[in-house]
């Protein structure tokens, strides 16, 4: 009981701090000194206390809290007790609110020198409102500290798939850091609109916060894909699942924003558009939390259905409504004095970039809600899956790769074809050479050839830009400044994206899946890989019991297994084994066992003799390039976080 009382008290205190924070900010607008830091830190301390209570309960397995009884057991290891906080709905909101209150304090502290500037005051006010809303959800319908009326000695333990892999400790926090991070550019967009101050340093300033959030979200999404790949057993990494799409939507508009705000800074264009993107990105974040938590769409990743749906939709509508109203009000004052001079100039290519990203976001949104729309109109259900999204994603990706090959080498405002050709020439010939090499090597798939051709071009443009930055830095004798140059981070991100693109196209076009039946000590060759089976092993520990297969791939041992976690009602899950190198991944699953099944939990293949097993062997070329590309994107965004010099500032 005491834990319930302490946890709820901490949440109420945090909520109160947010409310008083809003009031304090209003008073600051009227001339009082700023108290933002006090109330921000107060909310953060209270949230940290609430999180502390939950973590204590999880680590000490206190089943007096219903949440702990449902997501933890006495034998749950420490790491999965800690991550148990975000395994289910109510606890995930604790993580969300904690990150948001920490970020609010970071923003207040960062702008403390300007803490009476109306833009900062309004932005902080909006952040307090957003934080207050999410904490209110926990004070109300989604109470993490609900007491458990039954006196139980053992909990259910976390969901099997959430204690299978340590990535559960990294993926959700990074994802939430991204989502929550988008509240900052949103808050400042509202502040800029309310105060009318859209012309000075604030837009570019917001790009830094957006890059930070975008980088976290990108790495979070890639880690999520990696985690699915390692655990779910089908050898794939993205299913166009509603919750996956929910994470992709804000990422797409944020990417558009990161690019178009460069143009706004350079030439004062796209002001209304950029403010709209900032609002849209955060709105998509809220919509995403609705898809994940309302139970309205079926998903492998969704939390159980809850009563949060209407509250989240209400907040979504409020966010968008406020943004639209403010933009319509200020619209006239936001017009740019200049325009885009030529569609193939760098500004023009950025326009194309934005159209592609925003258009694709619309398609993803439509595909995700279409089943709901269809059911509302026709009463029956449909599914919108990979074929639809992939059909649209392909041409969009090709167009984006082309833009990446051209935009870094195209000039602002004008297009000089001869000059452009001299800059692109080397990459163009190398790209063609790469395609020729592939065709000679037997690769005839049009999509792969096209993607590689454009990817080499994009990589060439990025390398050329980086080379330019580094040589001029070396000439000045300051090599270190090259790392902090404005375009360095972006070009590294582009290189990462190219690596990702090639990995995705090649692996999805050339993956081969086979099922092979092997008797003990038998060997066979599948798709060029020597696969052998050497027997079964039963392994038990405090967390689970596994039936492992002793498999060898090209001489190296792998142990695909069927794992049954301890705890009531636990279902056996397949645990794949992966042999990975730069060229290909070999993905092995324990699909079925022969004879009458024994007690392995595996499916039984009645036409296979006892003692033999059926293995799923999937060979995926270049799959590891996805994770390498993701790492490069993360590094690039970290490099981009540096301060980009606003055009009006005169260098010292």
């Amino acid at each position: 009981m005491i834990l319930t009382w302490l946890g709820r008290f901490a949440l109420d205190a945090a909520f109160l701090a947010c409310v008083i924070g809003v009031v304090a900010q209003v008073r600051t607008l009227r001339g009082r000194p700023s108290r933002a830091l006090l109330w921000g830190v107060g909310a953060l301390v209270a949230m940290a206390a609430a999180v502390g209570v939950m973590q204590f309960a999880l680590i000490t397995h206190s089943f007096s809290l219903a949440y702990v009884a449902e997501n933890n057991a006495t034998f749950t290891p420490l790491i999965y007790s800690i991550t148990g906080m975000w395994s289910a709905l109510e606890g995930s909101l604790l993580l969300w609110a904690l990150i948001l209150s920490a970020l609010t304090v970071a923003v207040i502290h960062h702008y403390r020198a300007d803490n009476t500037d109306p833009v900062v005051v309004w932005a902080t006010l909006v952040l307090f409102v957003v934080g207050g809303f999410f904490i209110l959800l926990m004070v109300g319908p989604a109470d993490p500290f609900l007491p458990n009326p039954a006196h139980v000695l053992q909990g259910a333990g976390p969901n099997a798939l959430l204690q299978d892999n340590p990535l559960v400790a990294v993926h959700p926090p990074l994802l939430y850091a991204g989502f929550v991070g988008f509240a900052v550019p949103f808050a400042f967009a509202i502040a800029m609109l309310v105060t009318g101050r859209v012309h000075d340093r604030w837009p570019l300033e917001q790009r830094r916060w957006t890059v930070l959030a975008w980088g976290s979200l990108s790495v979070g999404i890639v880690l999520g894909a990696w985690w699915s790949y390692q655990v779910l057993g089908w050898g794939g990494f993205w299913g166009w699942d509603p919750v996956e799409n929910a994470a992709l939507l804000p990422w797409l508009t944020a990417t558009a924003y990161i690019h178009s705000v460069i143009v706004q800074d350079r030439r004062g264009l796209f002001r209304i558009w950029n403010l709209s993107l900032a609002v849209a990105t955060f709105a998509f974040t809220v919509l995403g939390t609705f898809f994940t938590r309302s139970g309205v769409l079926q998903s492998v990743h969704a939390f159980s259905s809850s009563t949060l749906g209407p509250a989240l939709i209400g907040f979504f509508a409020l966010t968008v409504g406020a943004g639209i109203a403010l933009i319509a009000w200020r619209g006239d004052e936001l017009r740019s004095p200049v325009g885009v001079d030529h569609p193939a100039s760098r500004e023009g290519l950025f326009v194309a970039n934005n159209i592609l990203f925003v258009g694709f976001a619309f398609v993803v949104l439509l595909g995700t809600v279409y089943p709901l729309l269809y059911e509302a109109v026709n009463g029956t259900q449909v599914t919108v899956g990979t074929p639809y999204f992939a059909t649209v994603a392909a041409p969009v990706s090709i167009a984006l790769l082309l833009l990446m090959a051209l935009a870094p080498v195209v000039s602002w405002r004008t297009v000089n074809a001869k000059v452009l050709w001299t800059r692109v020439r080397a990459s163009a010939w190398v790209a063609l050479g790469a395609v020729v090499a592939l065709v000679v090597a037997g690769v005839h798939h049009g999509a792969v050839l096209g993607a590689v051709f454009l990817s080499v071009g994009a990589a060439g443009a990025a390398v050329r830009t980086l080379a330019g930055v580094f040589t001029s830095a070396r000439r000045r004798g300051d090599w270190w400044s090259a790392w902090r140059a404005p375009s360095t981070g972006g070009m590294v991100v582009h290189l990462g994206v190219v690596v990702l693109a090639v990995g995705i196209v090649v692996s999805t076009s050339y993956t081969t899946r086979s099922e092979v039946t092997l008797a003990t000590h038998q060997r066979t060759v599948i798709d060029g890989q020597l696969v052998g089976f050497d027997g079964l092993a039963n392994v038990k520990n405090s967390l689970d019991s596994q039936t492992q297969l002793l498999v060898s791939v090209n001489g190296r041992p792998l142990r695909p297994a069927i794992t049954t976690f301890n705890g009531r009602g636990a279902q056996p899950v397949g645990t794949p084994a992966i042999d990975s190198n730069l060229l290909r991944d070999v993905y092995v699953t324990f699909d079925a066992i022969g004879g009458n099944g024994a007690a392995s939990g595996a499916q039984v293949a009645t036409n296979v003799p006892a003692g033999s097993v059926v293995l799923g062997v999937t060979v995926e070329p270049l799959l590891s390039w996805l994770w390498i590309g993701g790492l490069m994107v993360g590094v690039g965004s970290a490099l981009s976080f540096g301060r980009r010099r606003h055009r009006d500032e005169v260098p010292a």
Partner: protein
Amino acid sequence: MRRRLVLSVSLVVLAIVVALSVLLVTRQPVNATSVPSPLVGQMAPDFRGTDFHGARVHLAALRGKIVVVNFFASWCGPCQVEEPNLITFAWQERLHGVVVLGVVFNDTLAAARAFDAHYGTLYPAMADPNGTIAFHYGVTSPPSTFVIDPRGRVVAELLGPVSTAQLTNVVGRVSA
């Protein structure tokens, strides 16, 4: 001109967002028992097999009786919950022209037998090699229960754990 453009675009976007919000807020969370089946009203796909005790099972041979076909698996929680209800129902209705038949879905034979033995199942259950029967019935996940009238037509599909009262209700509505 610029102001009008911004205003009209704002209104369009606002309208879309309001429509989307209304759509989403009126959706119900996915419900376990109410999915309509395309088989209702159609002839039940025929199947044959051998039950756990070696006796032969043939659906078409059961014409003239009401047949309740229950797809189950040992690993499925709701199946465990409904099993005592099915057994009670089968025993109560055995003299009233109702036959209950279990079909294993996506499970090992050993586990399914153990499941039956544990609950003391009083009605025949059979294996479904290669999942052919489940395919023809369009079973996506257990427990799925089909009620077939004496002429061989499917009158209902129930998804999720059934209660004795629910089964009695559905079977009672079947016209002889």
